[in-house]
């Protein structure tokens, strides 16, 4: 069964554009016609720079936002337009963890209270204990008595994960959860998540701007650019053989310790106000006429690969 199915998801935000005569409302499509699926026990990575829509997508999946268009099916239930009351019983199956470990925990509550609160809220007494949750994230029992300010950033993030785990969710959405941590803590959290996927059989959506981090944890990856999915497929295949020019630039730009790094991607920032065709055209070294007039659709290229790029149409791929 697919844990999650997202079909043609769109979310618009309004940005008032100031013109001479009055104010036009300009719609910014933060997430534009995005479709993907998450399998049982799968970790899906979502990678993109800021403004790509990845955080909005994360919030849409857990229904912190309501989509303007499209459908979200979680465990075969259509949750697209359910109201907060209807969503509540489902909330324990989908959990989200955020980037800033300093803001996500109530500074006045002890760690064990934070976790117990969730247990009590969902009436889960007896299924998972506070100690078990702490152990699962690699923290010893005595962490329960500490306050957040007594913990490091990495430890706080582990508590946030423990809090999410206690509900035994089927899907955990992690939005940039390692971005504020140093490399060592980051690696620890990534290992932890892989373990959790195994022992707790949870699926995950891991959102990050860092392709190297996503490579370490995800089975498949969604590459986003300005609200659209430009490429998707098996992580290792995408990294070894990126198809979309943006993905190529991304892969190219990640510094490698071996010293063989030479980012050759260079583009001129042109004014992209009239976006009719491909969003990436104005930055793309391979753009041709069609790219400026029609938007490429996300199309199946191979068994597990989809790309949204006219280049592949051109070369007779589809």
């Amino acid at each position: 069964m697919k844990i999650l199915r997202v079909i043609n998801l769109t979310k618009k935000f309004t940005e008032p554009k100031r013109t001479f005569f009055g104010r036009e409302k300009r719609f910014l499509k933060a997430v534009d016609n995005v479709s993907f699926e998450v399998d049982d026990k799968e970790i899906l990575g979502v990678v993109g720079e800021s403004g790509s829509g990845k955080t909005t997508l994360a919030k849409l999946v857990v229904r912190l936002y309501e989509p303007d268009d499209g459908r979200i099916e979680f465990m075969d239930v259509d949750i697209t337009h359910l109201n907060q009351k209807q969503l509540r019983p489902l909330r324990k199956h989908i959990q989200i963890i955020f980037q800033n470990p300093y803001l996500s925990l109530n500074p006045r509550r002890k760690v064990k209270d934070v976790i117990e609160d969730i247990i009590k809220l969902h009436r889960l007494d007896g299924t998972v204990s506070v100690d078990e949750a702490l152990e699962a994230v690699g923290l010893t029992k005595n962490y329960g008595n500490r306050y957040p300010h007594q913990l490091s950033g990495g430890e706080r993030q582990r508590v946030a994960i423990a809090r999410a785990l206690v509900l035994k969710p089927k899907l955990i959405v992690a939005d940039e959860i390692t971005s504020s941590l140093d490399v060592m803590n980051q690696m620890g959290i990534l290992r932890l998540l892989r373990n959790i996927r195994e022992s707790w059989e949870t699926s995950m959506i891991f959102v990050s701007h860092d392709l190297a981090v996503v490579n370490h944890i995800s089975d498949r990856v969604l590459v986003m650019y300005e609200g659209k999915v430009v490429e998707t497929g098996i992580t290792s295949e995408i990294i070894n053989n990126p198809h979309h020019p943006y993905t190529q630039a991304l892969v190219d730009s990640v510094p490698d310790i071996s010293g063989n790094w030479s980012p050759k991607y260079n583009y001129e920032e042109k004014d992209s106000s009239s976006i009719k065709g491909c969003r990436f055209a104005h930055r793309c070294p391979f753009a041709f006429e069609k790219c400026y007039t029609s938007e490429p659709l996300l199309t199946q290229l191979a068994a597990e690969r989809k790309v949204a790029c006219h280049l592949y149409e051109k070369n007779g791929y589809f």
Partner: protein
């Protein structure tokens, strides 16, 4: 000043889109215009008494006289002309008092906020002590010492209110001096003078403009209040405050003598506050210049 350039050119049209700014600006323009031209456009001498024409209602009411547009007060003085001259008084007081408090507040605020150290500590102690005196009593005490008159009113306002301006400027400077671009300027080797005038000052200017409009509102209110209790302008100077106090005594017979100056004061003070508010809304906190 380049930020003013940008303010005027790029943002003026944008500012006009704010209803608050538009409305208040219109009213204040009328206020300033009448304040500046009162001696030339007032139909009568504001101090000319005429017992024969005392307590007349406005021209459009039965019993009114078309040459006294808004009627007369108990001494037969034309209310309309007195209102216009009162605008001059209010404008003069507002502009001068704000200018004084502005200059003092800016210099002291920047000194305390940027240089810090002993100067800051000393200044803030003085401000704290100063602010602990009840402002009204301080103003009245000052007037009692120096005597009444429009310039003493200005002095009183400045003496009481400089502390507020100083405090706000200081806290703005404290915030701006921590910004990255100030560090860049220091890293570039610029002198303290340069940093204060090119880096700090232009970026606190929008807040100072807001503060100035609010300060003007306060100045007008204080002048009217002092004049109302007889501690403001000299009796020969027409002021909305004295008009209100005169009108109060004759409320039963000619309510308009009270209504007009009261309304005018309220509208002008409200507009000044509204303007300040409107400008504050337009300031983009990220950029500290107008959007």
């Amino acid at each position: 000043m380049t930020v003013m350039e940008k303010t005027l050119k790029d943002s003026l049209l944008n500012s006009l889109r704010s209803k608050k700014i538009l409305v208040s600006l219109v009213i204040i323009t009328v206020f300033v215009f009448t304040g500046l031209t009162a001696p030339y456009i007032a139909p009568h001498d504001p101090n000319k008494q005429s017992l024969r024409d005392a307590n007349l209602p406005p021209a459009w009411v039965e019993g009114g006289n078309p040459s006294y547009l808004l009627g007369t007060d108990s001494l037969g003085r034309d209310i309309f002309s007195r209102l216009l001259h009162g605008a001059s008084v209010a404008l003069y007081v507002a502009a001068t008092a704000t200018f004084l408090t502005g200059v003092v507040g800016t210099i002291l605020g920047i000194a305390a906020g940027y240089i810090r150290g002993k100067i800051d500590e000393l200044l803030m102690r003085v401000v704290d002590i100063w602010m602990s005196f009840p402002p009204v009593i301080l103003a009245i005490a000052l007037i009692s010492l120096l005597g009444t008159g429009i310039n003493n009113v200005i002095l009183a306002i400045a003496v009481v209110d400089w502390t507020r301006f100083t405090r706000v400027v200081r806290s703005e400077v404290l915030a701006v001096r921590e910004k990255d671009f100030v560090a860049s300027a220091r890293a570039a080797g610029f002198s303290t003078n340069y940093i204060i005038w090119r880096e700090i000052f232009p970026n606190i200017l929008p807040t100072m403009i807001v503060l100035a409009t609010l300060e003007m509102g306060i100045a007008v209110s204080v002048e009217v209040l002092l004049s109302f209790v007889g501690l403001g302008v000299k009796p020969t100077t027409p002021s909305w405050g004295t008009m209100i106090s005169d009108g109060l005594s004759y409320l039963r017979t000619t309510p308009t003598a009270l209504m007009f100056p009261l309304l005018t004061t309220m509208v002008v003070v409200l507009s000044l506050n509204l303007l300040g508010d409107g400008i504050r809304e337009k300031i983009d906190p990220k950029l500290e210049v107008f959007r």
